[in-house]
């Protein structure tokens, strides 16, 4: 029975409500405090995010909310933790980013609240168990993101990026809603579990147009592919990443991607696959098409395109944009194996990727703050001028390549392990060869910093606070490469809760 208006459900979404309250109170604060209130609003927003996490963890409610529209399982909570981490880091970094906080950007206090608004969207997104809910949360995430990307009014690149993001985003979301309507028409339901029942029986209904089903899934996945920047919906990423304020680029690259990946995983593993009752470690693909192979091909193409395009970049932000496309490809490798190991590898990779990629973008920001724009040629000789930043930056870059003893290596090992276990050798070989290719461009930045002699001698002193955050990200990048069992355990618990039969 549908209990759409169960009053207890209101209490069950308390983490989201905390965020909504933060958003509203923040707006009021902004009105009251005026221009003096910039940092106060930011700090308040961070506080709101932290409280939301505590409520999320301590409220302890797991189960269906609003009659199954939303599910709060360990999978959702895990991703919500990640999202808050990304959002809080973005806000913290933004406070000290001159691009955002110094320039005469009108009303920059709303900037922080927009991040909170996007976070609300992500919270709902990773728990959505209903296509309509999914679509709405996706939009709730997208709208503030569009604004944030175009935030720097006087920067042509930022404005252009904002427009591009809206246009591409609108296209993707149209296509997604069309796919959703097709799925609804076919299955008669918007709920994931009901769709699963329909997909499972699709083979036994010869009168059902198989092509329509394929189209429905393709159109729906366009929305996901757009959010995680996977082939063929990745073209927006380089321009948007380059033009957006750098903290927002980082937010899109880690937060938005994690949320999109989470929603996609739930859609795939609940609608298109079913847990094997005999062996809880594996899933069975449903439907009449070999969609795991399709995802595998998308994954291979995504990482290859991302890596090869990154080879020719001269701007560090663009380079990281292509690298984030490549990493979306790596993460997708964990899906076609349809196993718990693959799923947990993706989740673990999201954690690692969040830390190292945030670190890489933060390094760029620290340098930007000191007037070094993200053209890679400007990084020449930084090893001598700013040793601390250069060393931390190199740690993040080598971790992105996937070299021990850094966390990125462990993330990749688990993805490859999942593939090897399920005998997907061809994809694993493409994956490792891509890692080798990626070494060239990541090491290209390191080469500039350490191997080339400096032209200028002046030392660069980072903002002390940002330097602290830089090491706060570099240390776990090393630690997780040496001992990762606790985080892996969390990823395992999160993965295990996905798609458990009711």
């Amino acid at each position: 029975m549908l209990e759409l208006l169960n009053p207890r459900d209101i209490a069950r979404i308390s983490p989201e409500l905390v965020l909504v309250a933060t958003f509203i109170i923040g707006l009021v604060m902004d009105l009251v405090l005026g221009k003096r209130g910039g940092k106060a609003v930011a700090v308040f927003s961070i506080l709101g995010l932290v409280v939301a996490v505590f409520v999320d963890l301590l409220a302890g409610f797991l189960g269906d909310i609003f009659g199954g529209m939303i599910v709060r399982d360990n999978f959702a909570v895990f991703l919500q933790l990640l999202i808050v981490l990304a959002a809080a880091m973005t806000l913290l970094i933004s406070i000290w980013t001159s691009e955002v906080s110094d320039k005469p950007t009108a009303g920059h206090r709303e900037y922080y609240l927009m991040v909170v608004a996007a976070t609300i969207g992500m919270f709902f997104l990773v728990g959505s168990n209903n296509l309509l809910m999914l679509y709405l949360s996706m939009e709730l995430l997208s709208l503030p993101s569009y604004l944030l990307v175009g935030w720097l009014k006087r920067s042509r690149k930022s404005t252009e990026a904002g427009i591009k993001y809206i246009v591409y985003g609108a296209g993707a979301s149209c296509s997604m809603i069309y796919g959703i309507s097709l799925l609804y028409g076919l299955s008669g339901s918007l709920y994931f579990d009901k769709i699963q029942i329909f997909v499972a029986t699709i083979g036994s209904k010869p009168d059902l147009p198989a092509a329509t089903f394929i189209l429905a899934v393709l159109f729906t996945s366009a929305g996901f592919f757009f959010k995680v920047a996977a082939f063929p919906f990745f073209q927006w990423a380089p321009d948007v990443y380059e033009g957006a304020p750098t903290p927002i680029t980082a937010f899109l690259a880690v937060g938005s991607k994690a949320a999109g990946m989470g929603a996609m995983l739930r859609f795939i593993f609940v609608c298109l696959a079913k847990r094997d009752p005999g062996n809880m470690d594996v899933f069975t693909a449903l439907g009449s098409v070999d969609w795991p192979l399709f995802i595998a091909i998308i994954s291979a193409v995504t990482m290859t395109v991302g890596n090869f395009m990154a080879l020719i970049q001269t701007n560090a932000k663009r380079l990281l944009a292509y690298s984030s496309i490549a990493h979306a490809g790596y993460m997708l490798m964990g899906i076609p194996v349809l196993s718990l190991l693959g799923l947990q590898a993706v989740l673990f990779y999201l954690v690692v990727y969040l830390i190292m990629n945030l670190g890489a973008f933060l390094s760029i920001i620290v340098l930007e703050n000191r007037g070094i724009s993200p053209e890679i040629k400007n990084y020449r000789g930084l090893g001598a001028r700013a040793p601390a930043i250069a060393v931390a930056f190199s740690i993040f870059l080598f971790s992105l390549v996937g070299i021990p003893p850094f966390a990125g290596f462990i993330g990749k090992v688990y993805l490859f392990a999942a593939l090897i276990k399920a005998n997907w050798y061809w994809l694993a070989v493409i994956g490792v060869l891509n890692s080798v290719v990626s070494l060239y461009y990541y090491a290209g930045i390191v080469r500039r910093m350490f191997l080339e002699k400096t032209i200028e001698e002046a030392q660069i002193e980072p903002v002390p606070f940002l330097r602290m955050i830089l090491w706060l990200l570099a240390i776990p990048t090393i630690l997780l490469g040496v001992y990762w069992a606790p985080v892996m355990k969390m990823a395992h618990i999160a993965a295990y809760s996905l798609g458990l039969p009711k």
């Binding site: 070299i403 021990p404 003893p405 090897i420 080798v436 090491a443 191997l451």
Partner: protein, 504 residues
């Protein structure tokens, strides 16, 4: 008997502790940093010698190790911190300890970023020792890769004019080789039941996991080749050798010594440690091809060496040739061949170490390495000329010096199995003599080049780095029995696993 002890952990991580301490030394105290590095490598060397003193030569090795440490690292994935040594790794651990210690002295002239140099060098030493000591394949892989980072920076920052190119080329080649190996390791892990990365356990349970996979009867041959390529790039085996001349030539002297003396051995060590005992059938299937590659290495490497005008490049290509002797000895799988191969790894480390140090000595004075650009140096640098002649003779295989023993053993071991290959390979010795003697003549004899009127002879610090190696080169050449005795039991066991008649 399997013995346990913590000495291997201390050997492996003492350099790392040294690196951490050096990072704390304040700027401007460069000499203190250097002495800290001497201390760290010195303690490590002392520990390796202590270990040798406790080492039991009669132990069979390969599946049964000494000084074993075995602890859970990541339990859910059955990854262990698992270290141990046997007759295969002991010579290499000692070689690593010795060369690293001497190389700190050879690095005394480094002025730029001493702190970073010494820390990276010590990190590199930890990586190298870890590779030789680890028995868990995951741990092995981590150490194997950890070395790449310091090596990249050591070549890239302190190297010669084309250092950037050489550094990234080295990095890309080695990473390419090792990622395929990673997939091989994972394939072994999932094929074994219960899943394990433990090398001895995988060797012992071979019968249970070595079955066709994916419907491919030759599946494990592919894995064998994946491992082999990873190791072949390190050796380097033709056609994967092109990174070597670049890296060796551009690297600073001490790093060239480490590259040639230790890193190349990791390739051959890996083949003997992993490919042979894990895949004995595949090893037999592959052996004639390995012999062929060895012969190509010898002939091609020697011919290339002959064509060089840069002294360092000549030594680099001579390494390609000399590692070829190792390969043919291994390919034969006879007792003499295997003994020859392992002894050649040790000898080549010592002799090529000397050669690179000697090239460094003359380069520091003349600031070039063009063989034709010297002439008549023997009159001005008599001691130097003497040491060079010793090193050249040892390298070209003059009886009474170390190189001869191991090369002769390789040939003796190979002769009954591949007579034709042996005949071709022996000509490599002649080529080796040709290029070494020819360049010796051009550098030291003839009229003195006037530019070097005031060149000074080798100094005490440089002599100090060379004398231990020279003594070993002579000692092993005259009396190789002690070094050979470390490995006999292990190599016998390896032959047993390979299914060939033990002791022949």
């Amino acid at each position: 008997m399997q013995t346990s002890s913590n000495i291997l952990s201390w050997i492996t991580f003492t350099p790392l502790i040294g690196a951490a301490v050096i990072l704390l030394v304040p700027r401007g105290r460069e000499d203190l940093m250097r002495w800290m590095a001497v201390l760290a490598t010195g303690i490590t060397l002392a520990l390796t010698i202590v270990m040798l003193g406790m080492y039991d030569k009669a132990d069979p090795g390969i599946t049964q190790f000494q000084f074993v440490v075995q602890k859970d690292w990541i339990k859910s994935f059955n990854i262990q911190y698992f270290m141990g040594v046997d007759g295969l790794s002991v010579p290499l651990v000692i070689l690593t300890g010795l060369l690293s210690f001497l190389c700190i002295f050879a690095s005394w002239g480094i002025e730029r970023w001493v702190k970073a140099y010494m820390s990276l060098f010590l990190l590199l030493e930890t990586g190298m020792l870890g590779v030789f000591c680890s028995l868990d394949m995951f741990l092995f892989y981590v150490f194997w890769e950890v070395m790449l980072l310091p090596m990249y920076f050591l070549i890239g920052i302190w190297g010669g004019p084309r250092r950037e190119y050489a550094a990234i080329k080295f990095f890309l080649y080695t990473l390419f080789g090792s990622v395929l190996m990673l997939l091989g390791i994972l394939a072994l892990y999932f094929a074994s039941e219960p899943h394990t990365f433990s090398l001895p356990q995988l060797i012992l349970t071979r019968a249970q996991w070595a079955k066709p996979l994916l419907g491919l009867a030759f599946f494990w041959k592919i894995v064998f080749i994946a491992f082999f390529i990873g190791f072949a790039i390190k050796v380097p085996i033709f056609p994967f050798h092109t990174w070597l001349p670049d890296a060796h030539v551009e690297a600073p002297t001490a790093i060239s010594v480490i590259l040639a003396g230790v890193l190349l051995k990791m390739g051959t060590y890996g083949i003997l440690r992993m490919n042979y005992p894990l895949f004995p059938d595949e090893a037999h299937w592959f052996s004639w091809f390995l012999a062929l590659l060895g012969v190509i290495n010898i002939i091609y490497g020697s011919l290339c060496a002959m064509a060089q005008s840069d002294l360092k490049k000549l030594v680099a290509y001579s390494s390609v040739g000399h590692m070829g002797f190792c390969l043919i000895g291994m390919a034969a799988m006879t007792s003499q061949g295997l003994h020859g191969a392992v002894l050649q790894m040790w000898n080549h480390g010592i002799i090529t170490g000397m050669l690179f140090l000697l090239v460094g000595v003359v380069y520091d004075r003349a600031h070039h390495r063009d063989i034709d650009g010297f002439g008549g140096l023997a009159t001005k640098m008599p001691i130097y000329a003497g040491v060079v002649s010793l090193a050249f003779m040892a390298s070209l295989g003059l009886p009474g010096l170390a190189g001869f023993i191991s090369e002769a053993l390789c040939f003796l071991g190979m002769w009954p199995i591949y007579p034709v290959f042996t005949a071709i390979a022996v000509s490599g010795v002649v080529l080796g003599a040709a290029y070494f003697l020819w360049s010796y003549q051009r550098i030291f004899f003839g009229p003195l080049n006037e530019k070097y009127e005031n060149i000074t002879d080798i100094n005490d610090r440089e002599l100090f780095t060379l004398i231990p190696l020279a003594i070993l080169a002579v000692f092993v050449g005259v009396y190789p029995a002690p070094v050979l005795s470390w490995m006999t039991a292990t190599l016998n066991h390896l032959q047993q696993i390979l299914g060939v008649t033990v002791g022949i």
